[in-house]
Amino acid sequence: MADAASAKLKDLLSPVRKRLQVSGLLATLSSLLWIGQAAFVATLIGGLLQPETTQLTIAHCVLGFAALGALRILLDTAAGRMGFNAADKVVSAVRARLARYEAMRSPQAAGTDSSAALAALLAEKLDSLRVYVTRYQPAQIRVSIVPFIILGFAFWHSWAVALILLVAGPLIPVFMILVGMAARSASEKQMQEIGSLNSLLMERLSAAVDIRLLGAVDRSAQGFETAADTLRKQTMRVLSIAFLSSTVLELFSAIGVAMVAVYVGFTLLGEVGFGSYASSLSVYEGVFLLLLAPDYFQPLRDLAAAWHDKADAVAVAGELAEREAQPHLPILGTGARVAVDLKGVPVAWQGLSFSYDEAGRVRYPDAQVGAGQSLAIVGASGIGKSTLLALLAGLIRAEEGAILIGQEELAPENADRLRSNMEWLGQAPHFLAESVRRNLTLACPSGAKPDIVKALQSAKAQGVIDRLPDGVQTRLGETGAGVSGGEARRLLLTRVFLSGAGVVLADEPTADLDPETARQVCEGLMALQKRGATLIVATHDLELAQRMDQQLVLEGQDA
């Protein structure tokens, strides 16, 4: 799984690989310019003690140091901007592609995961790729170049200093491998712990009404505190291992610098005679080597600091790979709107069969519904009534058989057009986080001037609107006002009236309603038929079924 995730991550970045390489190289170049800056400083300080060793004045050296520094800032900015552009391109492309891929997945085969989780992945989690691209990638390129060049310079002047760096440097990756493994599981664990603290809070918040009604506010707070405290202790135990990795890096880097300083100092005093080539180190060389030492370790430390970014990105890539590995049953067509004549047309099907898996194949009896006629599909729960409606609406593709709507056979090419003359009255509606008006006119042809008042009357839904704080301007959905199940059903019925669709598919339109509302919905459906619409209703409400012109009984069958 981890390999699949890493492979996926690599794949996601492939369109911007070039750009990332350039960005990384610019950052590398900037790091290398430090060697020049160090040389200027060393020349200056060396010149203070041994003026005869250099022709450069103080002003030359300071200006050189400053100019190279300014150039570094420029290069870093350019590298950062390129990284941002690359990240922007990657994230946006992945988002658009995933959104379309998931949108085309049939709602009948949506899988087990929640819409909220998918929305969170698309809207927020994908952005963790951004940090990975801008921080981890350049650090990786720098770490593969900068330390080696600095080591080369050190070796040129003093093999002892090079040896110090060489010993302290490669030990870091060795330790990193050991501690990195611990750190990785620790960071995963930490994310889980924080996540469970969050879900604990979410749970208490969403149960706030119950907690108060049960007089358990104090008990609840105490329980939360205890749980949070336990989580904290566990997390800290794990984190204490994780922090070893960065501490090891710090330690070697600090000891490396200290050893270089002490060695150089002793050599300059003449107390140490080994490690350099000619007679002894000059002051210039001493200062130069000291300045290089911290930057030998810096890329390694940057890479370690970006470790979490990589772990996050790999996790996201893993989630993407997992999604793509799931079977993908697409809808027919694209779900776009096409302008068509709205009128009742005949609907018929022949030899239709469908199965979600091998065991449960359903073969549907053939049926014909004339234009403006009505049909009830009845049968026990789970027998496949809703699936039949979904097949008719092109929400999922039939395995065998043909569906005729009007004179045309339903196919991916004409599904959008045929659906434009169709409306759907669902069982568990979810309103868009928009105004009631927008939700009601969703199915109206663009440019039409819908008569909302009349439709509300036809659907007996005027009362629902009256109860809402801002009438038809009230916002519905996640962040808006709520409506009860019966009210929602009547609003949906209004939408069907407004659409003027010639074919109406209704999935259990009276389930979970009180008798009064159920009767109103039933009347509404009959009114739609009277207007000329072809009506197909899946239901186990016998009263409703009997009012239809025909009934189609689905019975259990063996595959």
């Binding site: 300080i45 103080i58 800032i73 997390t235 984190l239 609406a393």
Partner: protein, 557 residues
Amino acid sequence: MRDVLTIFGIIVRQEKRPFLTGLLLAYIVLLAGVALLGISGWFITATGAAGLVGIGIQFDVFRPSAAIRFLALGRTAARYGERMLTHDATLKSLTVLRLRLLDAISRLPFARLVQYRGGELLNRVTADVDALDGISLRLIVPLIAAALTYLTAFAALYLFVAPIVAWFTLGTFFAGTLGTLAVAMKVARAPSERIERAHQSLRLRFIDLFRSKTDLIVTGNLQYQLEKADRADLRLRSNQRHVDTIEQGVGVALGLTSLFAASMALALGADLAVAGTISAAQAALGFFAALALNETMAPLRRSVTEYGRMQSAARRVTRLLDEGGKQAVALSQALPETQAEHDAPTIPLRFEAVSYRTAQNGRQILHNLSFAVSSGERVSLSGPSGGGKSTVLNLAAGLLMPDEGRIDVMGRSLGSYEERDLRAALGFLPQRSMLMHGSILEALCFANPTVDEDEAWQVLEAVALDSVIRQRGGLESMLGEAGLGLSGGEKRRLALARVLVRHPRLILLDEPTEGLDRTTAQHVLNGVQHYLPNSAILVASHRQVEQNWAQKDIRII
């Protein structure tokens, strides 16, 4: 900034010690870094000078080299301590903030509470708390530690190098850092708030896309919804670009600050050394220290962009905390209007000429409603949905206040109750209830801590849940989040058991057998009656089985 400081105050008050220790360690880490590089530079230059004039033997190498080694090790240890401490403190502050938030939210009016059930708002609140955890440790501690380090470095350079070097170097650091941060935080605020809003609308659009997918497909709006998400993405990206530009600008400004400071330290030090005012080693000390001060800047750069997010999160969280606080005040002020009891205490619930209009649009729901429920009596409320049955229960439970009329519970006016006493007097099962993660016994003990196993089985038997629970493994069997693992009807019955196990003398039930088949419904209703034979029961219902069970029916239209 005020809101950020308010949150900071809440966090620090709870954890002064870790905060101060963390601050101290962060300061030591920075200072040790400056000292390490500064002394190393001084040491090399000084030894070089000594070696050149041939007095190497007299040079005291041991103290400086010991100091260098000590700083290297000490710094590492301080860093480890700081990491541990700050993370521990961060986790603690998360708990503190969340507890405060829980407390505030549990004080909100019920109407608002019900609103908060919508997942999105909750999402936002939790995300806000996440954004705030870093206020002390990623924003304020680095800022103070940096300032302290600057002051110490100033003193050191002033004493050991030269006043002019100290003034120029640290003056540059102070002015550059503060100026950059002040400007950047101001400029970054609007776009980083817009980023957050764009994220929010992006998520909402995707939630709509997936939840309403069937409707969007059939009405031909799926592509349109995708385009709407694309537009939100575009908005998000353009603001992210804006913030990135600011961040790059901050990087340039801070980079120039430290470059300028180091160059000045180098030039001034060299000048003074040439003039003979200070030694070359002192000049090196000044330059190397200035170079090491660079380290103070890295966390600041990051805090700039985090600040915008923190600020808007802090504003929302403090507003919520305030709202909860005000509500508490309002409740206690409402208390003194206690009225003398004029009813026999045997009447558990009495409505007298109660009228109610919705707060939203003033629509009249109840008009002049009077009735009473006595002990051991079962009364049902019937009528069309939306007619006001639930409103009657909400009024009786004290979740809504009547516009006119009077409601007495156990012979006392509803307004005279303290929340705790009212909850002890009555039990209310609303239409929707939430179960929580934990065992069955925990769920019941949550409602009534004195429940033992016998009692638990009795109440489960009353709601016809005993055999289900036995099959699942008894009272210790665990439920998932929101009662995951039980069916809808089983959850409903466990919620009912939670209400009953408190032995309330007045029970308000809103469609208690919703989702149960007829036989089970009958069984449950009889169980309730037998479990609490002396309680008054008011049930809102549209089911025949419930209405038949009641002795009296009140029709609400």
